[in-house]
Symmetry: C2
Subunit: 237 residues, 2 copies
DNA sequence: CGGCTCCTTGAGGTTAATCAATCCTGGTGG
DNA sequence: CCACCAGGATTGATTAACCTCAAGGAGCCG
């Protein structure tokens, strides 16, 4: 079984490529280059000449921009099944930088080859449009959120996390207790993701704790939400 | 000459629909509904059931979200030739609200009809992808900018304005003097667009004036950039 | 038991929002 | 022609949020 076989499996599991038939999947697999990277590797840098976009098969990555003052603006995080740098299909340089946050397996699609495929397969183009539409909505919300105070941003993040983890793929052990969420990143990364700094995030968590909204057990990545109502109120600034 | 004829003209002038042949343009024109709105009209509201997306033929509009605290987050402005609410093709409600900032002529494309066309015309899908890619880059920059201090945001805005107005369609009288830009919106709208409030914007303009970076003549919408270098430095935080 | 790295806590300063006048400027009517 | 009015724009004083810098834990691995 050639590499492209397991590649096709990964493609099949991706919303972007669902609704494609075997023939189309194989054509895709044929132009996909598998990439494996350890944690904290740079995938591409803002301004680099674009060489294609990526499907994240396994691991977590972040898209960010370096701010002139040395800080970094995290645009978004991505996990398995997510596609990133799609915009590069129509731009000749990357508009942001990207780095793995854990060990990652990726598939890279060369711009030219993928565009050819796109022209031949309307369904693929439409799926990509749908994926980009989702991203647009996400970024729109992101802009909105940055105008809210930090506690509201954190509250919204926690609520979203809770909503996502309520219906988990659940091929895992824990039955995902309603009020308990697991932070998928370090506090440092979360602070960046929320547009703030670790110190402020820490204090905000503390305020939530003292307000009886959340509780943190020994494991610092587990957060129990005690009062959804209050959290929702906090999310409204 | 039916309405669809002048509609087709408007379509032809739009990047999104360039590269389509006559037949395709007419098909598009057939499903486009002309809409005329006076200034300050609501086009759609966040949460409304989506009824299609828009091409702005004439005028200026803004896309914004109402924040829980009463303020509003301006996501972006749009002008003639711009398309907005494209994401709605794949979402069943509008993710943000939209309002005219001046008298406007628009073309509305119904979701269902446009999707049909999209399936039939790969080139159309690819053009739309390109447009969405551009928007993604724009929103990415927008997220980044909101993490910069207000003076840097204003500086970047002015620099972008200057860059745009350097190569104007120039079917107008003024030869677009190198250092003079015209604000396309009121200060109030600009403040919202920059994620701040009029008072702060005013003070920031004042700082720029006192630093010898800009000058404002009698007409308050005209700004002369005296020191591009300093402005660029300000844009870097 | 160091020596990491990550997170937290503390003191202080800066930015920008808020609240509230005041100032223009253009339009209106006396 | 000028007084007046309404809107936006500016300015001022104050407050609150949050960043900065810096010092302490706390866990983890050699």
């Amino acid at each position: 079984m050639p590499v492209s076989h397991q590649t096709a499996d990964a493609l099949r599991a991706t919303p972007l490529f669902s609704r494609l038939d075997e023939r189309q999947l194989l054509a895709l697999a044929a132009i996909a280059s598998p990439v494996t990277l350890p944690a904290r590797s740079s995938i591409f840098m803002q301004g680099d000449r674009s060489s294609g976009f990526y499907l994240l098969v396994e691991g977590r990555i972040k898209i960010y921009k370096l701010l002139p003052n040395g800080r970094t603006a995290t645009i978004r995080h991505a996990g398995p099944g997510d596609v990133f740098a799609e915009a590069t299909l129509f731009q000749d340089t990357y508009a942001a930088s990207s780095e793995t946050m854990s060990d990652c397996r990726l598939l890279r699609f060369g711009t030219h080859e993928f565009l050819d495929l796109l022209r031949a397969e309307p369904q693929l183009a439409i799926n990509l449009l749908a994926a980009m539409a989702e991203l647009l909505v996400f970024l729109t919300r992101r802009v909105e959120e940055l105008l809210l105070p930090v506690p509201a941003r954190l509250a919204r993040y926690l609520l979203r996390l809770a909503a996502e983890q309520l219906v988990p793929p659940s091929d895992e052990s824990e039955p995902a207790s309603p009020g308990i969420v697991r932070l998928p990143t370090s506090k440092r990364e979360l602070a960046a993701r929320l547009g703030t700094i670790p110190a402020t995030l820490s204090r905000t968590f503390d305020r939530f704790k003292r307000a009886g909204v959340i509780r943190m057990s020994g494991d610092h990545e587990l957060i129990e939400i005690l009062d959804f109502g209050k959290l929702q109120r906090l999310a409204q600034e």
